[in-house]
Point group: C2
Chain length 460, copies 2
């Protein structure tokens, strides 16, 4: 299975779309696209060149603002702003107007700040007030993620009335799986499944059958915490309340899926010392800017390492062969440190790293480090002894410092995500070039200090 | 926000549970746990020592097999087998019997193969047949993930009959958000939302209002592909069919969430050269076994590097200072290669790396590599020139090989996930020690080859 290749059906559609764009056949294009789901149309963009993409955007907008908006909302987040840049301001206003406020806000967040402000000013007052409030939430919180299209009923309503209400508003809610129940002050007091409407007599009041223990999040709850709650309790949606427990929206599981994928991507790219912009941007400048910080740190660490070697130049001159084993010491400790750091950082992300067990965990890494360190040290010393039978110091220095620096690297690797978290930084940074470079320098220090001590000792 | 610390409420509950266990007060324990959700009870286990955990398992099983089974299903997958090992075989049979077949299969998968076979033999025939069929699916496919408790109706049924049916089976389906419609041969022909039952007259036949374009997966569809479909189309559940289009189960979004988190963890740990067993196991042996393969590869690569240095020993002897810049060359090319590899591997995982754009992408990495390589090469050469004004060769060799090896590393890093995928291996392996070690050896080759050539050239 090669996930990134188009299926045959998708390939046929793509070919047809490109042909119609080349021919300028907008009628044919409109007919072809009219039948497709927004997400399928959105999936075409990565395969089009700029000219084709621009043509497709124009055709979509000219046909129908609402469905053009739906398509652009399904485009991968980092690509959407480029496509929206081709849309005229008046069309943007109509597109935003056509969407429910949650989606409207999502679309506005793709625009540059000035353009977004201009568009909001041109909206009808009723829409702009809601949108402005939603825009005020941090996009990485429940408030920034939520949809405001919730099916809400008062607690005194009967099931019969609820069903009638649902029939009237039949198509406005995208994901109505739960009914939320509020009191007269609009405070969240209960929840009902749609199914319970069918399984109780119509005259029953909602407050008599609703579940009153409702899991909820605040508008300012971090999106990662929202995702963890939805995943932990197997929810399809979670209600969002303000500080007065007033229901203001819901976060649905499809948004949570996106959050989890996004956070994983962030973690992975951070581990490698770059970021998401780098993954999607076509610009060389963005790529260089994303990668240069850690490359710079590596360069600096390398220069520090060169100073250490310089300090031990006389040691090195008396046994030039020492240089040959610098890479293996550095490589082993870097790898060992990274393994420990990745384990602890991921454990923290998954909420599996309990505070009480930390001491036990650190002790375990220490023992694993000793085991691996002694194994590698012996193997290395053995190899050196066989390959260079004339010198005893070389084998002892290489083997001994492999052991010492691996143990140190694993302790350092396991501790640094914890220290980063304590400093309110991202624990995943530890797995990146940060730990590798520090551990590299450490390994070289250990190696030369040990070598020079051994050389002196054997010279006596 | 420190996600791994217990909330105050959780801490109070944990303290109470531990106290009751210590006192042997099973009645108190049963009363306390009776009110909690299974996932909350399951969350206690990581915070208990073995003796406490064993006591808690015994109390749960003695109280009620069905709810004990529910709790153990919510325990983190790698921990559950340890807990189940304390349960007697007769109790296991009763626990499996108490669950719907999908969950029963999940529980059986936690048991060692022999125990599972024994338990299945002791089940009632009706249950064991279903369970045996489910056990036959690969756990990483839709078949292994699906639940068989689906609300299925024939296409000729009316809405009124459907509602009556739903009322009769009111509590058997955990996540009934969609109704699936089949024909007389049990083939999937349509889908309905629960809501549409409320918004159409009772005499309407399902086939007249059902949506006939139903997204579906096969029993053998890989779980990653299932997750991608659910995420792409914002589904709450996806039906699973066999090769004859017969509906056999559904995969719900809560399972998909788990898959996505699990795959991200796998990717991240693979990048660091270890695996999930290592993260959860307390055994040192498991940890060493998980990490030793890549540590071994690193050791071997280091020995190869030492052979390269040995081959250039005369070069090194004539300019010992060369040794000081080996770590920086190795560090820079390792980092640069890893950044490229992580970007491409993650792009493939997220299905964003389109086949058509590959050439463009490789060219971009080449340009970014040149830019970063030249920048670092100049900085390094400048530093060396200032620090060691007597030698021109050192600066040229260090700067030149930084540039060359970084460009080579980035090309290699970008290409290797693609090559791995072509070989049907996991593209994420590229980001691990594999690329780092190869790139390290490459960097050292370039460095010494260039240094020796420069030394000869300047000596002439």
């Amino acid at each position: 299975m090669e996930p990134n290749l188009l299926t045959h059906k998708q390939q046929l559609m793509l070919d047809a779309v490109r042909k119609l764009i080349r021919r300028g056949d907008t009628t044919g294009l409109e007919r072809l696209l009219g039948k497709r789901r927004p997400v399928e149309v959105a999936g075409l963009f990565p395969h089009l060149n700029d000219w084709e993409a621009r043509n497709l955007v124009n055709t979509l907008v000219a046909r129908d603002h609402a469905s053009a908006a739906r398509v652009l909302l399904e485009v991968d987040p980092p690509v959407a702003p480029n496509l929206l840049a081709w849309v005229e301001r008046d069309d943007l206003v109509k597109m935003v107007q056509s969407l429910p406020s949650g989606d409207a806000t999502a679309l506005l967040r793709y625009l540059p700040e000035e353009t977004a402000t201009e568009v909001v000013q041109l909206l009808e007052t009723t829409v702009s007030e809601e949108v402005e409030e939603l825009l005020s939430y941090d996009p990485d919180t429940a408030g920034g993620l939520m949809s405001t299209d919730v099916f809400v009923l008062k607690e005194d309503v009967t099931i019969g009335e609820a069903i009638a209400d649902l029939q009237r508003n039949s198509d406005s809610m995208a994901m109505a799986f739960y009914l939320y129940v509020v009191n007269d002050a609009d405070q969240l007091v209960g929840v009902l499944s749609l199914r319970s409407l069918l399984t109780h007599p119509p005259e029953t009041r909602l407050k008599d059958i609703m579940i009153t223990e409702v899991l909820r999040v605040k508008t300012y709850t971090d999106q990662e915490e929202v995702a963890q709650m939805v995943a932990k309790y197997d929810l399809v949606a979670i209600p969002v309340v303000d500080d007065f427990n007033k229901l203001v929206g819901i976060v649905t599981v499809d948004d949570v899926l996106d959050v989890i994928r996004e956070e994983a991507t962030e973690d992975i790219l951070k581990m490698a010392g770059t970021d998401e912009d780098d993954m999607v941007s076509r610009s060389m400048f963005t790529a260089v800017r994303a990668r240069i910080p850690w490359i710079g740190v590596t360069l600096l660490a390398g220069l520090v390492a060169s100073e250490i070697v310089r300090a031990y130049l006389s040691t090195l001159e008396s046994l030039v062969l020492l240089a040959g084993f610098m890479p293996v010491i550095v490589g082993l400790s870097g790898n060992a440190g990274n393994q420990s750091a990745a384990l602890v950082a991921r454990g923290i992300s998954l909420d599996q790293m309990e505070a009480r067990a930390l001491t036990r965990y650190i002790l375990r890494e220490l023992r694993v480090g000793l085991a691996l360190g002694v194994l590698c040290g012996l193997a290395l010393a053995g190899f050196v002894r066989l390959r260079y039978p004339d010198t005893l110091v070389l084998g002892l220095a290489a083997g001994g410092s492999a052991t010492i620096s691996m143990v140190a690297a694993m302790l350092f690797g396991a501790l640094s995500p914890l220290v980063l978290r304590r400093l309110h930084l991202d624990p995943n940074m530890a797995t990146g070039p940060l730990v590798s470079t520090i551990v590299d320098v450490l390994g070289i220090c250990v190696y030369f200090a040990l070598s020079s001590a051994l050389l002196e000792w054997f010279a006596e």
